[in-house]
């Protein structure tokens, strides 16, 4: 039996140190555990720790706390025991963000006056940039024929997933809409807003086909930008992207309800209208457009001290100080110095 007196972090478990505490994120199982900075410091130079050194560093009381943390992390499969000889067998995860698309995701807003066709959007703005994941949002009632036209185009093109956020006009009879979602298997989720109740109408099936209703009245793009633990995202792609790029706007394109091309529909600046532009080439190269892409959380005031900074999806549209593009998101109530949520978005809107 080898002497396994080392604890080693699994390669997919990464520590983010905040000003007051740290988190270990498990990028494979999408979960995190909060830990004290004193514990995180043990792994600051290498990804393992020799348990034999603990009694030298900690007094009796802290030593038992240390052992409790070790037990919890072992229980959650964040760490494992190994011998000194085995240490070199566990290489680190490659943390470079790579994704085979110039544009990775798109938000497309429609209303009754939108003079744009999904066919043109797909052909000119999605296919050339390999953008295969889209979200479609409508804040007012739309004809069901409109959605049928959209989904027919989507079903026959290279798009991999589509999310719908639309106004509930089904008067609580969801049989038809559930069938529609079931038959159109690229639909990841359908959120019906301004509904009479908050309800999960249809659960996910392998991550797709979710139908929910919410009483939330979403009347415009100004409702976006919520920062809440429900939106924390713990995946290898998202974590590695956040290390160097903006977790929301990097490689994103948005088309607002009037056809204006923007970073995000909530932002003021437009880079042209799809009625007159047939390519994104010059927009992507425009420094005014792509300057947001590299605003990582490490560059954002307050967020740079936050332990959640690599799992929190940022917002650059609504800022605490709108004239400062490095300002903290306005709709975040978390204080990384005290570790308290002073308010969450729901109470903020009330």
């Amino acid at each position: 039996m080898k002497n396994r007196n080392y604890i080693h972090l699994f390669a997919n478990c990464l520590i983010t140190k905040g000003i007051s505490r740290s988190v270990i994120c498990d990028l494979q199982r999408s979960k995190y555990v909060l830990i004290p900075n004193s514990f995180a410091d043990l792994f600051s130079k290498q990804r393992y720790y020799n348990l034999k050194e603990a009694p030298r560093i900690f007094d009796q009381e802290n030593l038992s706390i240390f052992h409790e943390y070790v037990a919890v992390l072992k229980d959650h499969n964040f760490i494992f025991s190994c011998s000194k000889k085995e240490l070199k067998r566990f290489p680190q995860l490659q943390l470079k963000f790579e994704y085979p698309a110039k544009i990775t995701n798109a938000i497309i807003d429609f209303d009754k006056n939108s003079n744009t066709t999904i066919k043109d959007i797909i052909q000119y703005f999605l296919i050339p940039y390999n953008c295969r994941h889209i979200q479609i949002r409508c804040f007012e009632d739309m004809d069901s024929i409109f959605f049928d036209t959209l989904i027919t185009e989507i079903n026959h093109c290279f798009i991999k997933s589509v999310e719908f956020i639309i106004k509930d006009s089904f008067e609580q009879d969801y049989t038809q809409i559930m069938k529609w979602v079931e038959n159109n298997r690229k639909i990841k989720s359908l959120v019906l807003h301004s509904s009479q109740e908050n309800k999960v109408i249809q659960k996910e099936n392998y991550g797709f086909g979710i139908v929910v209703t919410t009483r939330q009245k979403i009347t415009s793009e100004s409702h976006c930008g919520i920062i809440h633990p429900d939106y924390f995202n713990i995946t290898i792609e998202s974590y590695t992207e956040s290390l160097c790029y903006n977790s929301c706007l990097n490689r994103k394109i948005s088309i607002d309800k009037s056809g204006n091309i923007k970073n995000c529909p909530s932002m003021k600046q437009s880079f042209g209208n799809i009625k007159s532009i047939k390519t994104l080439d010059s927009i992507i190269e425009n420094p005014d457009f792509n300057k947001y892409w590299t605003i990582s959380k490490d560059k954002i005031e307050t967020c740079m001290y936050c332990e959640f900074r690599y799992i929190c999806i940022d917002c650059r549209a609504y800022l605490e100080t709108p004239e400062n593009i490095y300002s903290k998101p306005q709709k975040c109530g978390y204080d990384p110095f005290t570790n308290k949520w002073k308010w969450d978005y729901e109470s903020f809107t009330k």
Binding site: K160, V200, Y231, Y345, E346
Partner: protein, 74 residues
Amino acid sequence: MEKKIKIYIQHYINDNLKDLPFIARFWDIEVIPTKSSNPINPITYGHFKTEGAYAIPFYKPISKIVILSILNEE
């Protein structure tokens, strides 16, 4: 039933290795139960005649406009 289907496919692969890609013997076979007995339509991607059994989600939220916490309450 799922086990039987898996064994059947494994035998099919072993018997037809020459006609299948060289990696076929390492394929992971997953039986997905469906609600009805009708075969599910494959998902098409519109080029190179590509088809898939199930779609692939994006790795992060595309927007943050829905208050998810009120859904969790229900």
